[in-house]
Every structure is written in C-alpha cells, then in structure tokens.
C-alpha cells in the first residue's frame, strides 16, 4: 500500500517553492486581494452570531465523538446507504480508489465523466488515472475548470483559482474554448463557462462528486456549493460515483444543523450556501439510476491512531485558516506542494503521506495562532505543528547543523554560568557579526547592536553600590 497526496511527494520544499512564488508580484496581489475579501465577509457573518463559540464547540465535540467510534459509524453508513439502493466500496489508498472508479465507468462502456466538488480525487490523481485509460474527466466547478483548462494547479481549498485575476482567466478561456471574442466583465466569463459546460451536463452519462458530509444514521450524502453545477452533476447523469475521506461521516442527520451553519460562514462568508444537495441512495424515476460510494482511507486511519494530532481529521475544508494565515497570504497555495495548502495543509499532508516526504511543511508557520482562532471545529493547528516538528526531530529529520546548534544551546541554557560564558563570546563576536551578519537573518534585517554589558552583569554592579 502506498499513500500519496497528489504529486506532493515530488514537490519542492516549502522554503524553496515559496522563494520562487514570492517573485510573482501579480500572484501575490491576487492572493492578498482575494483573501482580504473573503476574510472580511467571514468576519462580518461570524460576528453577527451570538452563539458562534458554542457552535464551534458543538462542531468539535461531534467530530471527536465521530472519530472515537468511526469504525461503527462507517459500517452503519454502509448498511443504510446499501438499504437505500447505493453501493459502497472501500479503498485503502489512491490506487485502489482509482481502480474502483475506472471499473465502474468502464462497466457502463462510458468514456467521459463530469466532476464536481472533490479534493480526494486530486489526492488520488484520479484525472491522470482516467486519462491514462482513455476516459475524459470534465471539471464543472468554475474554478476547477479554469485550473483544468489552464493546466494549472489549485492554490486554495475553497477557491482553487484564487491566484488568477479576471484578465488571466479571460485569456485562458479565449485560448482553450476556441472563442474569437469575449468580454471582460465577470458576467461574460461566467456565460462562456456556462455555454462550455451546459452541453456536457446534458450529454455525459457518468457523474463524479465528493462530499462535505455523510450521515451514518441515514446513509445520506451532502454536497454544498454556490454555482449549481453540483446539483446538475449529482442529478442529471445515469450513474453517480461519490468519493470522500472516511472522516467525512457525521453520526446523525441532526448534526448537519451545526455544520451547515459553521461551514458556509467560515468558507465563503455566506449565511447559507446557495445549493445544499442531500440525497440518500437511489430514487426510482428521479436522478441517477445507479449510485456508488467510495470510502477513502489513504492514510487517514494512520492519522486517527495518533492521539496528539487526531483532531486534524476534524477539518471540514472551509479554508478559513488559509484566509487568515499571514504565511499563505504571501505565497498562495502552490508553495505547499499539495492540494491541501495553508495551515491545514501543513499538518494534513505530512501526516497522510508520511513525514519523510514533507519535513519542511510543519515549519511553514510562524505559530501566530490566527488559524486556530478562526477554525470552526477548533483544530489547534499550532499545537499539532509543534507535535509534528517534534516527530521530525525525533526521527532524525532535522539538519545536522540545526541539531548541533540546538544541542549546544540546550547545554548552555541548562546552567547560568555556562550562559554567562556564552554571552561573553557573543560580546567578543560583536564586530565580526556586525561586519558579516548572520546567515538567514541579515539579508533583509540588521542585527541589533550587541550591548557591552548583559543584564546580569549590570545587576551585579548595581548590588555592589
């Protein structure tokens, strides 16, 4: 079994990728503007909720309870979904999931699939696997369509094309849709996408979706969205395949009451999503004739096993942490080398696919805590980042120079007379430090002038008076 999260095993380290992205001033302006806008909307609709903190706690508690009993909730979901006419498949990793999905599409002799609202399929690189066997996937979310047509990568969990501005999107549409003329207004771009997609919605026989929530009690699946493409994807085709990570389960239908308040306000700053689709199995004469669910593990049970960081699986993919993050704000999502970017990506990707592939991600944070503050299910991301850093150091993943430096510092700080001697050394190094600077620091920042007397030395002279 091999766990992979998209192409992130091959991705450059965070500092390296970030350095490159920081040079793209247009991208940085786009990211700043978009995150400022979403953040402003989110703050407004959160501030109007008198019970927001209680809702956060409720969301956290439901997720905790679910994860404690995930095994039985999953089986309960399978039973309920099967009883309602659905078929449930279990996939241990990306390859198993892709094989199941390809098998279903091929059993119907189909060569095309329309897709909506799915991050897990980016995780498994489903499109790549489909294309390899001659099946054409069409993304129908506007942003995902922009990414697909532009041969780009998503840079945000909720707004995947947020790093592109209007004129860049217009150019992609002109180049790939065969359009000679196209207006500049957002309405013109939306109309072009609508024309492009509508014909596919009506023609393609297989639909593919992710899920925001799946209800164990009823076997229902829930997708929320803003564009209506999701509603079409899950109702128009003859065959519907829905894949989601095993942590998307909630115990009962009533639990949706909490999450359908938390999610839209945190994600897009809306009180409610324009489209909330909830369906249960198959209904004869209405919607798809065949419904498949693929339950994806792909490393999630491994995350579940670590009590210190288990709450990573609480995530409902609202991306509020991305919009609040001062690091993400500078680089956008591509620096994280994974479909899961920002603070949640920095803790999720390394845990899913193993530390050795992503030892730089847990350090891609100043630990400022803005992510934890906005998280609707109270994931203590800074704590988990520190926990993962500890695991990296304990498994020998830190650089030798750092390990030596930390050992020397630890030895020095364990005794005040050693600290006093080290302070003397710093004072002696004053001039060379001033002249050559400190690597990693001095490229953009001056060092403070090192005083000739430490506080403890001053205190001694004071006592002598």
């Amino acid at each position: 079994m091999s766990i992979r999260v998209g192409e992130s095993a091959q991705a450059a380290t965070f500092p390296k990728a970030a350095k490159k992205l920081l040079q793209n001033t247009q991208l940085r302006r786009n990211v700043r503007r978009a995150t400022d806008t979403i953040r402003g909307k989110r703050d407004k609709v959160v501030d109007e909720m008198p019970d927001w903190q209680a809702l956060r706690t409720a969301g956290q508690q439901i997720k905790k309870r679910t994860l404690r009993n995930l095994d039985s909730y999953l089986v309960q979901f399978e039973k309920a979904c099967t009883a309602a006419g659905g078929k449930v498949h279990w996939a241990r990793d990306a390859d198993e999931a892709n094989a199941i999905i390809i098998g279903i599409i091929q059993s119907h002799g189909q060569k095309e699939v329309i897709k909506v609202k799915t991050m897990t399929s980016d995780e498994t690189r489903l499109n790549h696997a489909l294309e390899a066997v001659g099946i054409e996937p069409y993304e129908t979310d506007l942003a995902d369509l922009i990414i697909q047509l532009g041969h780009d990568k998503p840079s945000h969990i909720v707004v995947p094309a947020l790093h592109k501005n209007k004129s860049e999107i217009r150019q992609i549409f002109m180049d790939t849709m065969g359009l000679k003329e196209l207006g500049h207004a957002p309405e013109d771009l939306a109309a072009a996408a609508r024309n492009f997609l509508r014909e596919r919605f009506l023609r393609v026989k297989v639909g593919f979706s992710g899920a925001n929530f799946a209800v164990a009690e009823t076997g229902s699946v829930c997708v929320v969205e803003s564009e209506g493409n999701g509603r079409m994807c899950v109702t128009l085709p003859d065959v519907l395949i829905t894949m989601f990570g095993v942590e998307k389960i909630v115990p009962s239908f009533d639990d949706l009451e909490v999450f359908l308040q938390l999610l839209p306000r945190s994600a897009t700053g809306e009180r409610m999503n324009p489209y909330n689709s909830i369906w249960t199995g198959v209904t004869p004469g209405d919607g798809p004739k065949e419904f498949h669910v693929v339950l994806l593990d792909n490393g999630r049970t491994k995350v579940l096993a670590d009590e210190e960081s288990r709450e990573t699986l609480h995530c409902i993919r609202c991306a509020a942490c991305l919009n609040a993050c001062p690091v993400y704000r500078q680089t956008g999502g591509h620096a994280y080398g994974s479909i899961y970017s920002g603070p949640i990506g920095a803790i999720l990707t390394p845990q899913l696919q193993g530390m050795e592939h992503s030892t730089s991600l847990p350090y891609a944070s100043s630990l400022c805590g803005a992510c934890y503050e906005v998280c609707p299910v109270k994931i203590n991301i800074p704590e988990i980042l520190i926990h993962l850093r500890r695991k990296i150091v304990e498994s020998g993943g830190a650089a030798l120079t750092e390990r030596m430096g930390m050992a020397v510092a630890g030895y020095t700080l364990a005794d005040s007379s050693r600290l006093g001697k080290a302070q003397k050394l710093v004072q002696l190094g004053r001039q060379p430090l001033d002249a050559i600077g400190l690597p990693g620091w001095s490229a953009a920042r001056d060092l403070p002038t090192i005083p000739t007397q430490t506080f403890r030395e001053w205190w001694k002279t004071r006592g002598a008076k």
């Binding site: 891609a364 990693g440 001056d446």
Partner: protein, 242 residues
Amino acid sequence: MLISLFITCYNDTLFPGTGKSVVRVLERLGHTVEFREAQTCCGQMHYNTGYHPEAVTIMKKFVADFLDAEIVCIPSSSCVAMIRDHYPKMAKEAGLEKEVAELVPKVFEFTEFLTDKLGVTDVGATYPHSVTMHTSCHALRSLDCGDRPQRLLKAVRGLDYLELPAGDQCCGFGGTFAIKNAEVSTAMLSEKMRSVLDTGAEVCTGSDNSCLMHIGGGLTRQRGTARCVHIAEILASEEGDQ
C-alpha cells in the same frame, strides 16, 4: 511586594535596557525587585522547533529556580505564553504537575502585571513622542492582552498614541521561522513595516523584543523613520530622560 524578575535569555544578552526599565518602573511604584542569578531561559526556542527533551530540561530548571518566588514578572509575552500554554502538558511527562500548577498562576507578563496585579495604568512616565504598538501574536491570542498595553501607553505624559493598521497580523518573526523561511518572513515584515510607517509614528513599541528586533532590524536596514522600543522602556521614561 517582592517581585522576582525573569529577564529571559535574549533580553539578558541583547536587550539589558528592557530589564533595567522593568526594575526602574517597579521600584518607582514602591516594590522590591529580586534577580535570581541561576535563571537562564524558558525553553521556548527548543520546544517550538521540536527539541522536546532539551525544552523539558530547561523547564525543570525554571521550575526549580522560581518555585518559591512570590511573583514572577517577565518582560516578554511569548515566554509567558510558553509557560502558561505548554508547561502544564510538559509537566505531565516530567512528573512535575504539582509544582507547575503551583508556579504558573504566579507568572505574569510585565504589562498585565501592572494592570491586573498592581492595578495601575499611570506609572508616572513621561515620553514626548508619537508611538504605535505592535501587539505580538502571543500577547494577542495566548495572553489575550486586550487593550492593557494601550491603557498604559495612553496614561504616559506627552505620548501621542497612534493605532497600528492590520494590528492582528503577525510580523513574520516566529523564532526559528525567521531563519528557516527567511524569504517569507521578510515578505511578512515588509507589510508590517509599511503599516508602522503609515502611522507616521516615531516609535513602534511592543511587549516582545523578539518581534521588535525583527521589525527594528528591517526598519534600520530600510532607513525607516521609526525605531523600535520595548514598552518597559517607555513606561520607565521620566521627564529629563530625553
């Protein structure tokens, strides 16, 4: 009140003026300050970077050095946050739960000590300059400092207080983050410097010399018009100092 000063390792080495100012303010208010010379560090750098055993060793030393103190006052929000947020969990592994539970409530950051424990906002300072304040992330989110530092600053004679725009945004220091991710760190710093300079203030203050060293280092490199000064030094200032 006998107040034990924990100066912190980097203030001791790089910013002794901050410690002298704390002593000056507390003595001016009629209290006695002691300095326990065995003290070194809180262990934050090791803990946040993933070096857990080293951090636990330093925590044990801090607990031994200060357990019998009446009050511990620290001119650094992030060190106080380290002690409050992480010591209780680390203590479980180190078998020091009782000691840490006893010590933590006696530990205060300098400005919250003045406002909450001593109940003063006017500390008798004069500082005839325009001042803006960078609230460090630990002061803001961990210590939940609210407007305590601002109340202290606004009571200083001659001080013209200017609000910092986007004040809840991290300056990009983040300890070893500033070195490991130097480029992103300085990109964050650029935004912070722009905010500081936009206020037109002569001085940017704060309760953490770590952030101020970062912002101040950027400002002097850019020949910026503002300089960074720890809040203790402002509160210690008296007429005739400038």
